[in-house]
Symmetry: C2
Subunit: 128 residues, 2 copies
DNA sequence: TCCTATAGGGCTGAATTTAGCCGTACTTGA
DNA sequence: TCAAGTACGGCTAAATTCAGCCCTATAGGA
């Protein structure tokens, strides 16, 4: 099992105090929820996924797919044909995530009119 | 209204394609869900919050509280006493977030036994 | 006077994530 | 032969977030 440039060992310990953090650790990553949702919708091959999420680089999509795979959210099946063919699928754990994501998405859509303009604005921050 | 070191204008546009992203933009930040949950539980003053979340720096807690305030998730009331006194409270929008957070936390707790060990492991990544 | 508590900010550097370029190897179809 | 598709990885630099130190000012109590 090859994993891109490498594996990265965190230097700051992961925060898992409560279930909230567990959930966040799993889905944080710019395109992970899209990927999960696409796979759930039947978009299961790397190329298809990239066409569906064109704003992301193939590079990053591959990495985040690998992260989801290493957490047991999705599985990756490699068909040893020429040319190679790859398919992703949700595991039972991944499927259990679907209704949770649906709830959060519903909240986001309901409050989009309010929040979208605010989220474009500059944010309070530490730097500068 | 003073906002710490400054306001930061993002150079990479925010992703708000679907409700999932709206939700993620609101709560991503290392301690935001803790802060929201604590305020919901009646921990409403900066000092109390810091004692409740001691692993976070006061600095970062203040910043994330300011971010939540600027999005209308919480309100900040400054009592002009000596010494000053500050209280936070959830807005209706913030309160609407509570059941959503509860759902995600429930999922996280249910799958903690499975995921906690995996999340400690090195992650597939681009660098190195 | 000194220690504590209240609330807030300046500053530096590290850690982490993302963007975006390029190249490999193979196969099919025009 | 050439373009386009399949899938994968090397590499650099930017963007973004976070850690952790320092400081101010006020007031109360020992």
């Amino acid at each position: 099992m090859t994993y891109f440039c490498g594996m990265y060992e965190k230097k700051i310990p992961v925060e898992l105090e409560c279930g909230l953090h567990v959930f966040m650790e799993v889905i944080s990553g710019k395109w992970k929820i899209n990927l999960i949702w696409c796979i759930h919708s039947g978009i299961i091959r790397p190329g298809e996924l990239h066409r569906r999420i064109p704003r992301a680089s193939r590079r990053l999509l591959d990495t985040q797919l690998a992260q989801l795979t290493s957490l047991g959210i999705i599985t990756k099946t490699v068909f040893s044909q020429k040319p190679a063919k790859v398919e992703y699928a949700l595991t039972p754990l991944g499927k259990s995530l679907i209704p949770v994501i649906a709830v959060t998405a519903k909240w986001g859509e309901a409050n989009r009119p309010l929040l979208e303009p605010l989220l474009q604005l500059p944010t309070p921050t530490l730097v500068q």
